[in-house]
């Protein structure tokens, strides 16, 4: 590993970190604007032109608010909860391929922080650990509403992780690799996985909504039942961390959906435009972010349209609909990939 590569990767890490935080911050603004648009309102418009500095104002407010730790809460765990939520949310961006390779001074640099050969599993590992932030926070607040929220969150996460994993298994059967970079490269130009795995994508998307605790699966923090759910007792930037983590998760899930099923940085006719590699890479990254923003918009669109499930309905959907569907999808994918062998075995 040369020193240039190290510097490049460090810069990339910083850039991805900054972009993630910026997008998360502006997702809050986007969410409010989109909600306002859907509800025939104006939305934030006081801080700067079109309210563009609203996230800055919100962040400033979060930092300046009084920090309250409930008297009977265990203080260490109370702080650990939001920290863990933020940590796990930020860790997932490492394996997302933000773009193809850039060639600078004759050296190729990949626009991915690290290409783990188990990238998909890495994301699963981190995501499965993400629920601890909510559970620890909810439990340590020493509040019944928080505890109910934490319990709902953990039950939901475990149930939907299963279906999510099974939907990914079918994808891996078609791609034959766990590296996200390779999965993206296989979808060059228009061979997007959504065309081969429509059912898998649907299951994955529903589970992504559930894993992000977004409506219609926002039972863990639904304000009409549990006040604030697991973050009822939180104030100041600790609350901000929870909210931020949610938006980062949303961003990363969108990036993951775009990479796994919608071709990542690939776009149709990318090789027939006659541009040089660096140009195509930059264009690809722009396209990738376009796809990501579409999914973020989709997340918000759903949130402001659809009511939320009840706890038992949520569990029934997860265990009785999604998991059998995912298994069926694996079966179908298996039959499809082995169709030649099957034909030979059946008719000879």
């Amino acid at each position: 590993m040369g020193i240039e590569l190290l510097i490049f990767k460090s810069i990339l890490v910083l850039v991805v970190f900054t972009i993630t935080l910026t997008i998360a911050a502006y997702s809050t603004y986007g969410e409010r604007k989109i909600a306002a648009f859907l509800q025939d309102r104006i939305g934030p418009n006081r801080a700067g032109p079109f309210g563009i500095f609203q996230p800055v104002a919100d962040g400033g407010k979060m930092f300046l608010k009084e920090e309250i730790i409930p008297a009977d809460a265990s203080a260490f765990l109370f702080v650990l909860g939001p920290s863990l939520a933020m940590l796990t949310a930020l860790m997932t961006g490492v394996v997302i391929p933000w773009g193809d390779t850039l060639t600078l001074n004759g050296v190729e640099y990949s626009l991915q922080i690290t290409d783990l050969n188990i990238g998909v599993l890495y994301i699963f590992g981190v995501v499965s650990f993400g629920v601890y932030g909510i559970m620890i926070g909810g439990w340590s607040s020493n509040n019944k509403f928080s505890l109910l929220g934490a319990i709902r969150a953990s039950a939901q996460m475990i149930s939907y992780e299963l279906a999510m994993g099974l939907s990914i298994v079918a994808l891996i059967m078609t791609t034959g690799t766990l590296s996200i970079k390779e999965i993206v490269d296989q979808q060059a130009t228009w061979h997007w996985n959504i065309l081969y795995q429509p059912l898998g994508f649907l299951i994955f998307m529903i589970c992504a909504f559930a894993e992000c605790n977004r409506a219609p699966f926002d039972l863990a923090e639904c304000e009409t039942e549990l006040v604030g759910g697991y973050h009822t007792e939180y104030s100041s930037m600790k609350l901000g961390f929870y909210l931020f983590a949610e938006y980062i998760n949303m961003f990363i899930s969108s990036a993951l959906m775009a990479s796994l099923y919608f071709g990542g940085y690939n776009f149709p006719f990318m090789n027939s435009l006659g541009l040089d590699q660096n140009m195509v890479t930059i264009l690809g990254t722009v396209v990738f972010f376009g796809k990501v923003f579409f999914f973020i918009f989709f997340f918000m669109w759903i949130r402001w349209t659809i009511p939320r499930f009840r706890y038992d309905q949520l569990m029934r959907l997860g265990w009785q609909s999604l998991i059998p569907l995912a298994i069926l999808n694996i079966l179908l994918t298996g039959i499809f990939t082995m169709r030649e062998e099957l034909k030979n075995w059946l008719f000879n």
């Binding site: 909600a35 859907l38 109910l148 219609p216 009409t224 402001w304």
Partner: protein, 397 residues
């Protein structure tokens, strides 16, 4: 099975204090829930957090000063409360109200009913998690409030009308605003219905949530949309018509299961029926005076007060609350936003009521609440509460 029942008895229950300040209890209620996980084993409602002793205050107030008290009961549809009170007084003093004033009253009452149902149904949406419908149809409620504003200058606690009719005729802007409001409601409410009433998640949440049978509902004394959702076609507007409701052609929607979805649908349909009634009233509005000729109770015009002796005397007597009313007992009820709103008035002939009792439908619904949510989940309990449209101001009076 014996060994399992033993375990059941040892189960540890969790106590959850839902309210008095909880975002889902629209108003100040307290419910001490005994929970088995997410399932409600039993609940104990506490009322009286905003008890303002209206019935007692009314005993010390001249009659025309009681109208503002009625505003503050069901504040989602205060004009109906105001009108109900005016009509009770008119029944007591035997005043004859001109047809025009009656039709104008119907227009205002039906507008208030629409506003009430808009609040209730959109809040059902909010409690299932769909906030958009709520903020979207809120604009129509705003339009209705603008009509109130044009008529009486107030929006929420309207104090609209007078004993004997209205303080002035509706002006041109008012008619325009009513028309505008109706057109806008027709358009937007259809959208709202498309958004929710066939939504799979919404239906799954609402169907079978907080049901009550017709017998139980009647036993508790349910009235209004909540009773009609259970399948009983009782509506005060039809059963004992007041204010010329008998002149109008409208249907009473009736549900079957008495669950949240039926209550939602009954209210939806009632909005359409109310629009129909208002249109009929506007088209067939009779000519005539906008108030009854009862100088002891209806304030004379200001010009006369300054120029005529009798007018000045009546003005003084009314304002000081020195007009005596006949002795007697009356009960008058109107179809309020969420049920039969009754006024039981006992007069001993003085300047104030001897006793005034409000039959407040919310108070009656809330008694059935613990039974309705028993064995349901926490989310159901919240949905049941909002679909019954229990309003704390009316519950506690």
């Amino acid at each position: 099975m014996q060994q399992y029942t033993d375990i059941e008895e040892e189960k540890e229950y969790n106590t959850l204090n839902l309210g008095p300040t909880h975002p889902a209890t629209h108003g100040i209620f307290q419910n001490v829930l005994k929970m088995d996980g997410e399932i409600i084993v039993s609940s104990e409602p506490t009322i009286g957090y905003i008890h303002r002793a209206f019935e007692k205050i009314a005993e010390h107030r001249p009659y025309y000063q009681i109208t503002p008290l009625t505003d503050r009961m069901n504040y989602c549809s205060s004009p109906i409360n105001n009108m109900g009170w005016h009509m009770t007084m008119e029944k007591l003093i035997g005043a004859e109200i001109p047809k025009r004033a009656q039709y104008m009253r119907i227009i205002i009452m039906e507008l208030a009913r629409i506003a009430d149902h808009i609040v209730c149904n959109s809040v059902i949406g909010v409690d299932t998690g769909a906030l958009t419908g709520f903020t979207y149809v809120w604009q129509d409620r705003e339009k209705i409030y603008e009509v109130y504003e044009e008529i009486c200058g107030a929006r929420l606690t309207t104090n609209i009308g007078r004993i004997g009719g209205f303080e002035r005729d509706f002006n041109k802007t008012t008619w325009e605003k009513i028309n505008d409001a109706l057109n806008s409601i027709e358009k937007r409410w259809a959208e709202f219905e498309r958004l929710l009433s066939r939504n799979r998640i919404f239906m799954d949440r609402c169907i079978g949530c907080g049901p009550i049978t017709a017998e139980k509902a009647l036993g508790y004394g349910f009235t209004g949309p909540n009773l009609r959702a259970a399948g009983v076609d009782y509506d005060v507007r039809v059963m004992s018509p007041y204010s010329s409701y008998e002149d109008f052609d409208f249907t009473i929607p009736v549900g079957t299961n008495g669950d949240t979805y039926d209550r939602f649908m009954v209210r939806n349909t009632e909005i359409w029926e109310s629009i129909k009634i208002i249109r009929q009233a506007m088209n067939n509005l009779p000519e005539g005076n906008y108030h009854a000729d009862i100088p002891e109770f209806y304030l004379p015009p200001k010009d006369d007060v300054y120029t005529k002796m009798e007018a000045l005397i009546y003005h003084f007597k009314i304002v000081m609350g020195e007009t005596d009313v006949p002795k007697g007992e009356v009960y008058h009820c109107v179809e309020g936003g969420n049920g039969e709103l009754g006024f039981y008035l006992v007069s001993d002939g003085g300047r104030t009521p001897y006793r005034l009792h409000f039959r407040r439908p919310c108070f009656i619904y809330y008694q059935a609440y613990p039974e309705m949510i028993k064995g349901a989940m926490l989310s159901d309990a919240i949905l049941t509460m909002s679909s019954m449209n229990v309003i704390a101001g009316e519950l506690d009076a």
